[in-house]
Symmetry: none
Subunit: 244 residues, 2 copies
Amino acid sequence: MALSNIRIVLVRPTHPGNVGATARAMKNMSLRRLYLVAPEKFPSSMATDRAAAATDVLESAVLCASLDEAIKDCHLVIGTTTRSRRIEWPTLDPPTGARRLVEGAGKGPVALLFGQERTGLLNEELDRCHAMVTIPADKEYSSLNIASAVQILAYELYRARLVEAVTPRVMEGHEGRPVSQEDMHRFYEHLEKVLHQVGFLDPENPRLLMRRLMRLFNRAELDDNELNILRGILTAIQKYHDKS
Amino acid sequence: MALSNIRIVLVRPTHPGNVGATARAMKNMSLRRLYLVAPEKFPSSMATDRAAAATDVLESAVLCASLDEAIKDCHLVIGTTTRSRRIEWPTLDPPTGARRLVEGAGKGPVALLFGQERTGLLNEELDRCHAMVTIPADKEYSSLNIASAVQILAYELYRARLVEAVTPRVMEGHEGRPVSQEDMHRFYEHLEKVLHQVGFLDPENPRLLMRRLMRLFNRAELDDNELNILRGILTAIQKYHDKS
């Protein structure tokens, strides 16, 4: 299993100590690929202190200006939360989420996202996710330290790999190759354009409908053949319009 | 299950930040009973900072001069380690250790021990344990931060309690009601009609494409809201055609 295909993405982390502690938590569980989206302060001596013997993970961290940049080549993106959300995403418990990621890493890059300390993942960040992992926690005090959340998921990823090593992989029933987030993003843009064209999007609130459609198609985890079919349908609708 | 019967014991912790982070990790997982054996510095502002909203757990921590004092009324004592030991104790994985502790807590006080940051539990401390829990970790860098180790075990204790209460259900992430096969059949007929209209179906082999699309949408397991959105899009495409 290609461990280098699993990346941990911290989105807008504010506290350097947490970034360092995340690097350590990762290395303890054999994970090395840390992506930092617009960190408030990096590098930082506090991050280095808390990283202990995992400064190599910190030093090789990939700095990104946006979340899209961090996940553009990923075919599976899973977000983390301890709270339930208004619009529900498919929600997995940590062992199930870890299993999905380990299976996905066999095919190409996958990402596990952690939101900013105070806010968690924002809605537009959640829109990038195929599924959410919820860490079960105390009803009245569910806000885990972010490096602690990374530690729990990194531990579950380590355990999932141990299981994977001795268990045959479950076939997903896809013929084609997995699809990158970048390709999905282009598909969603195309879809939105066509929906505008045929007058289906509510001009008052176009995002809500798009969010629901993105959730639906993310859940289906399209392969490249299927994406080509859907793109072809959208193009046919546009051509049909141009002719008439 | 008497949660107050589960105590977390830190043996000679040297870093106040770790004590505070331990308190937070515990409270996040509904644990409140922290015992500190000869801490190097306590109380401390750094412990309070890292405890975040778990200062109540810190304030009610029980200070002990010796390990024996901390566990004297316990009928089950489990130690933690990430390394294998020369003299072998019965060694449990974290879920099994957590289950033992949760079961034991039904009968009276039980303790989970964490050794000093640098040394771990010493042999004379291990002698007090009925069993050891080993956290699986990277072979070359197995030394977890102590509060991270507490977080993983506290999480497993929380999960063990959930299993004890009811078997946890995996949320599927749907708001709406499930869709009948009959409704899906009508949707596919509608889809096929529109695809004919926009000239997308291959007249030589229309079934192959439809079969692929059916597989895709079946896999997504639509709810009734989502089906209504998709039917609405198809109708909008048809209306758009009638207008033009």
